[in-house]
Structure formats: C-alpha cells, structure tokens
C-alpha cells in the first residue's frame, strides 16, 4: 500500500500550505431562539497546549451545512429524536418497565449529557452515557442492551442530549476519574497506525487546515450524536473514534471498551465550556 500511504501523507503535508480553512465567526442560534456557545476559552487543563480557543466543529462547516442545524425541522437528526422518544415509552424486558416508568418525561434528563462520562460510585467505574443507558436496560428493565454504536443507542443518546442542548459541557476530570482521564490523555497523544498519527496531530496541531478536501476541526464531541451527511444517519462518539483510528491505518479499539471510554472522557473534557449540541449536523 506504499502508493496510497504516500499519497495520504503528501496530502497532509501539502494541503496546509496550499489552502487555509479558517473556521468562521458565525453565531449559532437554533430555531431563532437558543444561542449556543460554540467558541469559548480553553479549560485550565489545556493551558499547555497550542489550542488558544475552543471551537465547535460547526464553525468548520459550510453555510449550507450550518443552516441544517439551526432549525429543528431542517435538522435530519431530529427524526431520530422522535424514534428515541418512541423507544423511551416502549416497555421492554422482564421487569415490565420502559424508560418512562422510572424517569417519566425525558426532560428529567436535563443536564445529564453535559456531565458524561462520569464516575459511577456503585459500579466503581467511569461510565459513558451509552454504558449508563445499557446498565439501565439490563439492570432495571431486564432488557437486552442496545448495540453500543447502533441506531437505537444513537436515537436514545440524541433524545437525552437534546434535553441539555445549550448547556455547557462540564465533565469532571479529578477525584475518582483522574486515572482514567490520564489514560485517555495518553491515548490522545499516542501515534497509531501506519500513518503514525495521534488524535493531537490532526485535531490539536492542524485544526483549521485542510486534510485533502475537508476541514480539520478540533475533534470536539459536544455535538454527538451527530447526523453526518456522508452516511445520512446519527453517528455515535465511539463509532467516530473507530473511524478516525482506522484512518490512521491502525487496528482500532473496541467501541464501549475501556480505551475508548477513557478517550471519550478526555476528549469530552477538551470541550468543557462548549454547549451540548446533540444531535448536531456535520458533513
């Protein structure tokens, strides 16, 4: 695969010099009502990085794509929120429960998306939102877990994320999660694959530059799950991580596994202060 690898590397080296792809200064106001925080100061823990300002991936998209997220009817991701709502009210499993049996209206989930992944004291582990959803299903409903990056999981995550829309991401990085957070940070800066790229090589060192014909963003995950024009469906965080690692031509970690859970915690913390956007729209 020498030919293709060289091409890919050449694209990485040449493109930044040829075309800058600066993020824009547009303001995201959803439905003409909710103003979102899409740029904000870097959190304390990133003070030794080259990132001068946090920016939502929304700023790196074309006006047409940006517009799709600013109206809940134009946003195709919202159709999957409707699906998620149907799932919320559906009784499944041996206990005769639906999500609504315990949590009533999904508005009870307000604030949840903003603080995940977080420590679960009873389980003694860091849990992503997807892990918590599946824990609820298996422990409280006696139902089968959703496939970790599957459509039903994405629908439910979108429904829950929407309840926190506009709230700043605020994941804890100290206390019991500190070790896992450090592990995630190490993964973020570790080069993988035949292309020997770390997350940081693209999303910290080169955001704002082009990678082939696409704009490199900061790789923020505040907008997940995200509706991608590319595959016309909601995409989960771990599915995106898997795609990114695969593109470095590495064997990827398992979605839902400890490596990606640690990485999600760390990457989420790099967005502390940006609004929850899910379900966002990206290319």
């Amino acid at each position: 695969m020498k030919f293709k690898a060289l091409t890919a590397i050449a694209a990485l080296i040449v493109a930044p010099g040829l075309a800058m792809a600066d993020p824009d200064d547009d303001t995201m106001i959803i439905n003409g009502e909710v103003e979102m925080i899409t740029k904000t100061a870097v959190p304390e823990h990133m003070s030794d990085t080259a990132v001068s300002e946090l920016m939502s991936g929304w700023h790196f998209r074309s006006d047409e794509t940006q517009a799709l997220q600013m109206d809940d009817f134009d946003n195709p991701g919202m159709i999957f929120v409707d699906e998620g709502m149907a799932q919320w009210e559906t009784v499944e499993g041996t206990e005769g429960n639906s999500c609504a049996s315990c949590h009533e209206d999904p508005s009870s989930m307000k604030g949840v998306r903003a603080v995940y992944p977080k420590w679960n004291e009873d389980a003694g582990e860091v849990r992503t939102l997807a892990m918590q959803i599946n824990a609820c299903r298996t422990e409280n409903m006696g139902a089968e877990p959703y496939k970790y990056t599957g459509g039903e999981m994405a629908n439910m995550e979108a429904l829950i994320a929407l309840q926190s829309r506009g709230m700043p991401i605020n994941v804890a990085i100290d206390g019991p999660v500190a070790d896992v957070w450090e592990q995630g940070k190490e993964l973020y800066y570790t080069r993988t694959g035949q292309l020997e790229l770390s997350c940081a090589n693209c999303h910290e060192d080169n955001y704002g530059n082009m990678i082939r014909a696409d704009h490199l963003s900061q790789g923020q995950i505040n907008g997940f799950p995200t509706y991608r024009l590319k595959n016309a469906k909601l995409n989960t965080v771990h599915a995106r991580f898997k795609g990114c690692v695969r593109d470095t031509r590495a064997e990827t970690f398992k979605p839902g596994g400890p490596e990606f859970t640690a990485l999600e915690l760390y990457v989420a913390s790099r967005g502390n202060g940006l609004s929850v956007e899910g379900p966002s729209v990206r290319n």
Partner: protein, 138 residues
C-alpha cells in the same frame, strides 16, 4: 500497491478514455429532457435554480427550484449514473411554483432544471455544482 510503469500507462490511458466518455450520461440527459418536453423547443433561462457552488458532501446537496408560471419542473443531474432526480408537479393549491429538496450528486457536474409553463412552453437552467472528496476517510 506499487504500480509498474506499464500499469501506470494503462491507468493513464484508461483515465483518458474515461474523461472522453461522458457521452452516455449526456445523451440520457437529452433523452430525459426530450421525454419531458415531447421534443418542443426549450428556452435558456427563466428557471430559478439554487444550489451550492461547492457541495460539502455529494450525498446531501440542498437545492431549490422555482419558475413563475410553471406547472411542473423536472430536475436532472447530468453526471449521475441515471440523470433523473425529481419532477415537481404543482397543483391548484400550490402557493408558489417553487420547492426545495436534498439530492445526491455522484461527482462534480451540472444540475439541470427544466420547467413546463402553463402556456405549454419550456425553459431550462443549469448550474455546475462542485462535489469535493472527503478527508482522510474519503
């Protein structure tokens, strides 16, 4: 995946042939227009066609078509494997003869909108939309 010189030449020759062969698609675009108009003359212009100059992803390209006095508007993508996209037929309760949708474009190409007017005449507008390739994942 290392190309020998001979293979490289073959690839190059194939590329030349490929670029010289947009004819089938073009012909079927003409066929589609002829089927729509019944072979009548088509005036250039007079149809509003809004599409991005550069589409961020060819899978979902927002477009808007409109033509005052139209009874129907056919949209074609001249460079797709089959050129048909949609035909909008406006009824008596239409508030305006315009519509928006989202379409698939297989690559950089011309999008064509042909309007059939209430008086039986036809008009046509086309616009080139550049479709970019993706990032590292393609």
């Amino acid at each position: 995946m290392e190309f020998t010189r001979r293979e490289t030449l073959a690839v190059g020759a194939a590329a030349v042939v490929a670029t010289a062969l947009p004819l089938p698609a073009l012909a079927s675009t003409d066929d589609a227009i002829a089927a729509f108009t019944g072979g009548a003359d088509v005036a250039d212009g007079g149809v509003d066609l809004d599409a991005p100059e550069i589409a961020e992803n060819g899978n979902t390209v927002p477009i808007e078509v409109g033509a005052e006095g139209a009874v129907s508007i056919m949209v074609l993508a001249a460079g797709n494997p089959t050129p048909g996209v949609a035909t909008f037929n406006f009824g008596p309760m239409a508030g305006a003869t315009r519509a928006k949708t989202r379409i698939r474009l297989a690559g950089t190409q011309d999008v064509v909108a042909v309007a059939k007017m209430a008086d039986g005449s036809f008009a046509k507008t086309s616009k080139t939309v550049k479709v970019t390739i993706g990032g590292c994942g393609g």
